[in-house]
C-alpha cells in the first residue's frame, strides 16, 4: 500500500488486519473509537469477525475465547475501559494466551477527560489485574511506528504466549499522519499453536486445557516461575529504545510517546543556543530500557523525566538510575500537553543551578525535593 493519511486509530486497525488479525471485540470510547469503527467496516471484508460487546469486560473475555482457539485477536479501549478489562488481562496472562490490547490513553482517574495523557503507565506495566504477571508493552510516538509495533505485537504475543499492550495517548490516536501499511503475515518461524483448543483430531488422546486456576500452591508457584522465566527472556531480547543525541549531552531527558516528540522540539531549540541535550525514548515500557540509562556518559549528572502524568515512568527511571544521577521531573496531567518552551526552560534552569554548584532545584519536582 502506498503512503496514505490515516488517523492513529485507523492505522492500528489497518496494521492489525495486515498482520492477520481476524477477530476484534470492543466497546467504543473517545479517543479510541475510530479503531472500533475501522474494524467494524474492514474486518468483515476479509472474512473476519467484529463484535461490539456489551462492555469492556465482555470484550476482553471474548479475546480470551478467541485466543484460546488459536486466533489472532485484538481489543482496544481508552483508560477507564482498559481499567475494566484488568481482570481479563490477568486471566490472559495466567492462561498464557496471546492477545493484542490497545490503550489510547486519556486523562483519569475515573472518567477523567478525553484529552491525551500518559497516566496509565502504572496500569500498563504494573498490572491492574491480580497476581504476578507482566505484559509486553509498546509505546509508539508516531502513527507509522504505531502501525509497525502493532504488527510486531501480534508476532510477539504468539512467540511468548502472552498479552501484548500498545500504549498510545489520545493525540496519537487522533492525529492524522502519512503512513504506509505493509502486509505482514505471521512470522513463519512461529511454532504451531498446538496448545489451542481446536479439538483432538490432530493429537488424539491429549487434550488441550487452557486455565489459570492452580489450586496446589507448589504447582502455582512453578507456573509463575515459568512465567517469570519468560519475562526474563523478554528483558534480554525485547527491549526497544531510541537514544537521541546522548553521546555528548550535558543533560538527558527521558520521555516516551507524544511527549518524546515535544521533547525533540525542545532539544532542537536548545541545540541552537549551544545547550546539548539528549533523549532516551523507551519504545518498550516493559521491558524498560534500563541499560540505556546505566551506560550514559559520566558527564551526565542530571536526568529530566517528562510525562503527561504526575510521574509514573519516573519510578522505572529511578530504579534503573540506582541513585547515580539526580532525577528531575516535569509533568502536565489531566489532558494538558507540555509545551516545548517549558521543557527548554526547565532544562536551562536545571543546568544553570548545576553549574552554579547549587543543590538541585525542586520547583518542578525532583528526587530529593518531591513534587
Amino acid at each position: 500500500m502506498a503512503r496514505v493519511l490515516m488517523k492513529g486509530n485507523e492505522a492500528v486497525g489497518a496494521a492489525a488486519i495486515a498482520a492477520g488479525c481476524r477477530h476484534y471485540f470492543g466497546y467504543p470510547i473517545t479517543p479510541q473509537s475510530e479503531l472500533l469503527e475501522y474494524m467494524s467496516v474492514h474486518l468483515p471484508k476479509v472474512g473476519g469477525v467484529f463484535l461490539q460487546s456489551e462492555s469492556e469486560v465482555a470484550a476482553i473475555n471474548m479475546c480470551y475465547g478467541a485466543a484460546g482457539a488459536g486466533a489472532r485477536v485484538m481489543t482496544g479501549s481508552s483508560s477507564p475501559g482498559i481499567a475494566l478489562m484488568q481482570e481479563g488481562i490477568s486471566y490472559l496472562a495466567g492462561a498464557e494466551l496471546p492477545s493484542v490490547i490497545v490503550n489510547i490513553v486519556r486523562g483519569g482517574p475515573g472518567l477523567g477527560g478525553i484529552q491525551p495523557a500518559q497516566s496509565d503507565y502504572h496500569q500498563s506495566t504494573r498490572g491492574g489485574g491480580d497476581g504476578d504477571y507482566k505484559l509486553l508493552v509498546y509505546a509508539p510516538s508516531t502513527v507509522q511506528e504505531m502501525a509497525e509495533l502493532v504488527a510486531l505485537a501480534f508476532d510477539k504475543a504468539d512467540e511468548y504466549r502472552n498479552p501484548v499492550m500498545i500504549v498510545g495517548d489520545g493525540m496519537l490516536g487522533q492525529i492524522m499522519e502519512p503512513v504506509e501499511i505493509v502486509e505482514r503475515p505471521p512470522d513463519p518461524a512461529l511454532p504451531p499453536k498446538t496448545w489451542a483448543t481446536t479439538g483432538t483430531r490432530d493429537h488424539p488422546g491429549s487434550r488441550s486445557i487452557i486455565n489459570s486456576l492452580f489450586l496446589k500452591p507448589e504447582v502455582l508457584e512453578h507456573h509463575i516461575l515459568d512465567l517469570f522465566a519468560k519475562y526474563e527472556r523478554m528483558r534480554e531480547r525485547e527491549v526497544l529504545v531510541e537514544e537521541y543525541r546522548v553521546e555528548d549531552a550535558d543533560l538527558v531527558v527521558v520521555a516516551y510517546g507524544t511527549t518524546a516528540r515535544i521533547v525533540k522540539s525542545a532539544i532542537a531549540a536548545l541545540a541552537a543556543e549551544g545547550v546539548r541535550v539528549g533523549l532516551i525514548r523507551p519504545i518498550t515500557l516493559f521491558p524498560f530500557p534500563a541499560e540505556s540509562l546505566r551506560r550514559l556518559p559520566d558527564r551526565v549528572a542530571n536526568l529530566l523525566v517528562v510525562e503527561m502524568s504526575m510521574g509514573q515512568m519516573i519510578d522505572d527511571v529511578r530504579i534503573a538510575n540506582e541513585g547515580r544521577r539526580t532525577v528531575h521531573f516535569l509533568g502536565r496531567t489531566g489532558g494538558m500537553i507540555p509545551l516545548p518552551q517549558v521543557i527548554a526552560d526547565t532544562v536551562r534552569h536545571i543546568l544553570a543551578e548545576h553549574h552554579a554548584g547549587d543543590v538541585p532545584h525542586v520547583s518542578v519536582g525532583d528526587e530529593k525535593g518531591g513534587r
Binding site: 496514505v4 493519511l5 490515516m6 488517523k7 489497518a14 492525529i175 492524522m176 516528540r261
Partner: protein
Amino acid sequence: MARPADPRPAPAPDAAASGPTPVRVIAGHYGSGKTEFAVSLALRDAARGRRVALVDLDIVNPYFRSRERAGLLEAAGVRVISSSLGHVATVEIPAIAPEVRAPIADPTTDVIVDLGGDDVGARVAVQLRADLRRRGYELLIVVNAHRPETRDAAGVLRHLDRIAAATGLTPSGLVSATHLLRETTPAHVLAGLALCREVAGLTGLPIRYVAAIPDALAGLPAGALLDRGRPIEAVAVGPHLREDWM
C-alpha cells in the same frame, strides 16, 4: 516562498451592492482537511478586509477543531462561533451556540461553516437548512486522495451523496485538498486535482478551491488552476491545526 500562493485575489463583491455572499459550508470525509481549509480561508478573507464569521459545527470529534484556533482567528478579526459552552475544544457535547444564526442573517458578514466529518458530522447542518436556503449557500466537498476512503472517484461520490442526503443540501463545488501535511509536493496537489476533475466530470460540479501548503502551491505549473476554463482559487493552508512538534 518566493511568490504569494494565491495569484488571483478573488473579487470582493460589495454586500450593499450585490447582496450577501453565499454561506460557504465545508463538508467531506473526516480527516480530509476541512478544518485546516476553513480556518485558512477565514484568515485569508479577513486579511483581505472582509468581515468573516467562522461557525464551527463539528460536534462529533473533540480533537482538531476550528475552535482550537479561536485566539488566532479572533486576533485576525474573524468572529468564531462554536459551542454554547464557549470555545471548549475538549468536550464532545452537541451544544451549539444559539448565535450561530446571527451571522447568516447579517448580509454584511461572510460566513464559513465548518461541519464535522462524514455524513454523521454533517447532519447537524439540517438545523440551519432554512437559514442557509434563505441567504444562499455553497456546499463545498473537501476531497483528499490520500485518505483511503476517497482515493478514487467512487469513494468521493459515496461520501458526497451521503453528505447531501444527511444535510438536505445540494453540493455546489469541490475543494481539492490532497496533501501529506508538510511533505506535500506539487505532484500530490496535481494528483488530487486529477481526482477532482474526474469527480467534476461525473457530477458537473466545479472545482472551486485547491488547498495546500504554500510551497506546494507555488510549485504548480502554469495552467494547473483551471477547471474547464474556469479559474480554481488557491488557498494556502497553515497548517494552523498542527503544533510545531507535530
